[in-house]
């Protein structure tokens, strides 16, 4: 399984891989929003948590269809399905690789983008923490969506429609953590719910994704 993780990371950073795609999109959103909304510091500070979370969510969505589709097209998925690695493990490792390539860089650059959007001082810690807790859920939910649509030609649209509603709770609680953190309020409840969603997704969705792949490979 380590081998699969290393291969996926290697594929992501080589030419034509998805590395940087989500990150670039996230950067663009954060740079463009102040231009569209206007430079008023108070307005930006108010919308910063929401914009940052929406940007993170959409940039995750951008690279989801690559999780299984590339392996399906070149036949690797058939071969992985007949290999000693359980498909549940394949799904989990692929979600992890997606998070390392997409989610983790987002977490790392988010404070800089918070600065661009004039996020209030106390919010930075909570922004990083909320993204670190929430983006794994985005990756694993996305892997499930990708697994559901793996056999379809141009399944990207269907996948987005399937995945976006599942992203909503993470978005709501993630943004709420940052909003409350920035306002200096207590963040315990939304943070716990955010962590709960992530833990639940991590525990259940690899199995669901594996089942979906099995059906799609028939």
């Amino acid at each position: 399984m380590i081998g699969l993780l290393i291969r996926d990371l290697r594929l992501a950073v080589r030419a034509g891989g998805g590395f940087g795609l989500g990150l670039a999109f996230f950067l663009l959103v954060a740079v463009i929003v102040p231009l569209g909304v206007g430079p008023e510091a108070a307005t930006l500070a108010k919308i910063a948590p929401g914009i940052l979370w929406v940007g993170a969510l959409l940039s995750c969505l951008l690279s989801l269809d690559r999780i299984f589709a590339l392996d399906f097209e070149d036949g690797s998925l058939d071969l992985l399905a007949t290999s000693p690695i359980p498909l549940e493990g394949v799904a989990a490792v692929k979600a992890l690789a997606h998070w390392l390539v997409t989610g983790l860089p987002l977490v790392a650059v988010s404070p800089v983008l918070g600065l661009l959007l004039n996020l209030p001082g106390p919010g930075y810690l909570w922004l990083v923490l909320a993204l670190a807790l929430g983006t794994p859920a985005l990756s694993v939910i996305g892997a499930f969506g990708a697994a559901l649509t793996v056999g379809l030609k141009r399944g990207g649209l269907l996948m987005s429609l399937l995945v976006l509603p599942l992203y909503i709770p993470t978005l709501i609680f993630g943004a709420e953590v940052v909003k409350r953190g920035a306002a200096g309020l207590s963040v315990g409840t939304p943070l716990a719910l955010l962590a709960g969603i992530t833990a639940g997704s991590l525990a259940l969705l690899p199995f669901a994704a594996a089942a979906a792949i099995r059906v799609n490979l028939r």
Binding site: I2, G3, R7, L11, S76, D78, A81, T82, S83, P84
Partner: protein, 210 residues
């Protein structure tokens, strides 16, 4: 002792039954070549044997983790080198026979080349070298010789013969003669799913309408 036995197997492509009543057994050292016209269901049968799809009826009996499947597609990643591709599969199967596989399939000189820069035949050889690093006894191969030249076919036949001599077995769907002296043939034409009025499973719709 049999490595793989298939009893009264019926398989479907999509929802359409294509083959029924297929039965055979493979003992160590045996190879079975599947023949039959296009569309008879060779690939479907092989995918069922490999465990990728459930049979309609009948059973496939093999030891767990005994079957290594080689499909039409080679599962080769274009941006990885030959060595990395093979090393990945060796790691997945917990084996360490990359160097040996490179030599057997005459890929040594290409080891550091990216798979994107391989010819179709070289890619195919890499796909087949993957079987060597699985360490599994039963090789299930779907048209393994597509895009191979005569020398590579001979190389491949040699690798299969060596695998059989080492106590392995092979199930091969192919249209060409591999020159395997011991291989048995199985023509799938008589197993084509019959219409229901003849007691078969084929649905009311013909394939043309499916």
């Amino acid at each position: 002792m049999t490595l793989l036995s298939v009893k009264d197997l019926a398989v479907a492509r999509g929802d359409l039954p294509v083959l029924e009543g297929v039965g055979f057994a493979l003992a160590p050292g045996e190879a079975l070549v599947l023949r039959g016209p296009n569309g008879i269901g060779k690939t479907t049968l092989l995918r069922t044997v490999a465990g990728l799809q459930p049979p309609l009826a009948g059973q496939v009996v093999a030891a767990p983790e005994a079957v290594a499947y080689a499909a039409h597609a080679d599962g080769v990643k274009a941006v990885l080198t030959v060595d990395e591709n093979l090393g990945f599969w060796a790691g997945v199967f917990g084996q360490d026979r990359v160097a040996e596989a490179l030599d057997r399939m005459n890929l040594r000189a290409l080891a550091d080349r990216r798979a994107a820069n391989l010819s179709a035949g070289q890619k195919r050889r890499l796909g087949l070298a993957r079987l060597l690093v699985t360490g599994r006894p039963v090789w299930v191969m779907d048209e393994p010789t597509v895009s191979l030249d005569a020398a590579s076919v001979a190389l491949f036949a040699q690798a299969v013969a060596r695998h059989l001599a080492a106590g392995g077995a092979a199930l091969i769907a192919t249209h060409i003669d591999l020159g395997l002296a011991t291989a048995r043939m199985l023509d799938l034409t008589p197993f084509k799913a019959r219409p229901p009025e003849d007691g078969g499973r084929r649905g009311a719709f013909d394939e043309a309408f499916a």
